[in-house]
Amino acid sequence: MNHIETAVEFSGLTRIFGDFTAVDQISLAVGRGEIFGFLGPNGAGKSTTIKMLCGLLTPSAGSGTVGGFNIMTEAEEIKKNIGYMSQKFSLYDDLTVEENINFFSGIYRVPREKKRERKEWVLEMAGIADRRGALTKTLSGGFKQRLALGCAILHEPPIIFLDEPTSGVDPISRRNFWRLIYAMSREGKTIFVTTHYMDEAEYCDRLALIYRGKIIAEGTPTALKQEYMERDVLEIEVEQVVDALEVLEQSGIETAIFGSVLHATVTDAGQESQRIRESLVKAGLKVVRIEKIVPSLEDVFVTLIEVS
């Protein structure tokens, strides 16, 4: 295998907790410089996988490398080459911004002459240069998130693991955060990110969908939409969404609520839309519109999960 091109790869990776298989023989390869999105609902095994790759959890079975180092035997080397940030934004709340940076800088053995420069970089990146003396607990979610990221990559690791990095952060901060991730990816860093936000998944170069410990789909966002959505998606706007859902499910049509509308997955949009309209009207519901749409990743996701 080519270590220059592959940043993370693993096969047969398994983790069993008691009689529960959290991660079940999954295999993946992530290329250098890629933004790789690891998607799945809560409890699907995303965090467990990331923890095994970072050396926080020992795999029950399987093999793999991170940055060319064996995950079973070279955890110490891996730790020098990765940055890891979890959804908890693990910082010391009772230390100041600057103290947090200094501490992690020391733990990562950032060379003395680079410490200052890296500190300023983090403060700048997180946009908190003027709050360096403030206690970390006084920062808002978005700033804390970026500071946590900064502290996790003080040592400029080539591979960055982000475990639901945007949970609990407002939309603008999320957008800014992704801008940062893009910038880092352009610098050649590999980013392995888990999320359950579908809009974020669209930002990734490649995706893997994990469900109940197994990878059920893999590919670029576009490929996933094409490959896994051979059927059409109809967006149905009705006044009584819940009643309509019931009607459609009774007539055997795969339907899910998307905000205020329904998405029905059908084999042929042209034929089915008329049939759907009729059955809804017959049930006494008022149909505002039915149209064929380009499926979103969320549609793909819902379909894939329903299939498995």
Partner: protein, 373 residues
């Protein structure tokens, strides 16, 4: 390695000194405990409330009562006129002792006929009771020698209904404070060290920074040292604080060698830090750590000889105390403070403590590493 440990220690100190609760544990608790044991909790027996049940009303009986009071150990606070009233005073705890002088005491004394007085002591608090009996014996004997020149007074001390177990008093003339303060130092170090170590580790686990640290190249041994060195230093600081106040405020003597004290404290801290780490491996939350700390701390203090002598405990429990680091350290610290013992006398305790410490810290480290892995 040193760089990282230094970072950990610096961080730990910044956190501790920014946390009100931690600061209270470090500064307030030791001083408070010292003041309580220095002033309030005294096992010295004096001013025992005593009833004088005088049926004789003679010059001699009144003189005996006066002598008893003059000794300084007894204060006559009641003069019951009937046996029922006397019993009542004891029952209600108004008095702890009763001196009963029967009719004919003065007459018999004058005649030189052997006579009796009765001292009844409330044996509920066995320590005080036995001391009171000792003191009264002395007073009455002296009185008897003086007044009974023509004949002896036979004195009978009848204990109250409760069985009195006499206890070998450490040193009746010594102020109990001198005995308590070194012990207080030992238990303060234990509490501070246990609490701080267990809480600091568990807190990191709670807020998720432990996980964050585990993905850094920080080695488990560095993490462990970084988490224990600050609290060992703080424990030393507390020891110095309490000792200074003890010596300069309460006039507690240090007869032995201070370097020996410092050395044996280091040995003692091995076990205490070990237990603290162990607690951190079995606790998920800070509340659990707090509970576990006290679950260990209270029996450790009660079964150490700090308040109750180990020799008085059931044999099985006596064997159990061999696993209690405080047991050894109390002997060492009291020996150094009060008796001026050197290593020639204290080495068995020190060796046992060292062995215990090494075993505890090794076990805890292994568990700690495993828990991280």
């Amino acid at each position: 390695m040193f760089e990282r440990i230094k970072e950990m220690v610096v961080k730990e100190f910044s956190q501790v000194f920014r946390d009100r609760r931690m600061k209270a544990i470090i500064f307030v608790t030791p001083i408070l405990q010292l003041l309580i044991f220095g002033y309030a909790v005294t096992t010295d027996v004096k001013s025992i409330n005593t009833a004088f049940y005088d049926l004789d009303h003679s010059y001699e009986s009144r003189e005996l009562g006066r002598r008893l009071e003059a000794s300084g150990y007894f204060i006559i606070t009641g003069t019951p006129s009937s046996a029922k009233e006397m019993g009542d005073l004891l029952d209600r705890g108004k008095v702890l002792a009763v001196l009963q002088v029967n009719k004919g005491f003065g007459r018999d004394l004058a005649r030189g006929v052997p006579t009796e007085v009765q001292m009844i002591v409330d044996g509920t608090d066995s320590n005080t009771a036995s001391v009171a009996m000792d003191y009264s014996t002395r007073v009455i004997n002296r009185f008897g020698k003086e007044f009974g020149t023509r004949a002896g007074i036979q004195r009978v001390v009848k204990p109250a209904r409760i069985d009195l177990r006499s206890r070998a008093w450490y040193n009746p003339d010594l102020r109990s404070r001198n005995y308590n303060v070194p012990g207080v130092i030992a238990i303060i170090i234990m509490l501070t060290c246990l609490l701080l170590t267990a809480m600091a580790v568990v807190r990191e686990r709670e807020i998720g920074t432990m996980e964050q640290l585990m993905v850094t190249p920080l080695k488990p041994v560095e993490l462990m040292l970084g988490k224990t060195i600050p609290f060992a230093l703080i424990s030393y600081f507390d020891m110095a604080l309490v000792t200074t106040i003890g010596v300069f405020w309460f006039d507690i003597p240090i007869k032995g060698s201070i370097p020996l004290l410092v050395l044996s404290t280091a040995i003692y801290l091995l076990s205490v830090l070990g237990v603290g780490l162990f607690i951190s491996t079995i606790s998920r939350t800070q509340q659990q750590a707090l509970m576990a700390t006290f679950l260990f701390y209270i029996p450790a203090v009660l079964l150490s000889g700090f308040m109750f002598p180990i020799e008085n405990m059931p044999v099985a429990i006596q064997y159990g105390t061999y696993l209690n680091p405080l047991r050894y350290f109390l002997v060492i610290i009291r020996g150094i403070f009060l008796k001026g013992n050197g290593i020639d006398i204290l080495w068995p305790q020190m060796a046992a403590l060292l062995l215990l410490g090494v075993v505890v810290i090794m076990t805890s480290s292994l568990r700690f590493r495993k828990r991280l892995g």
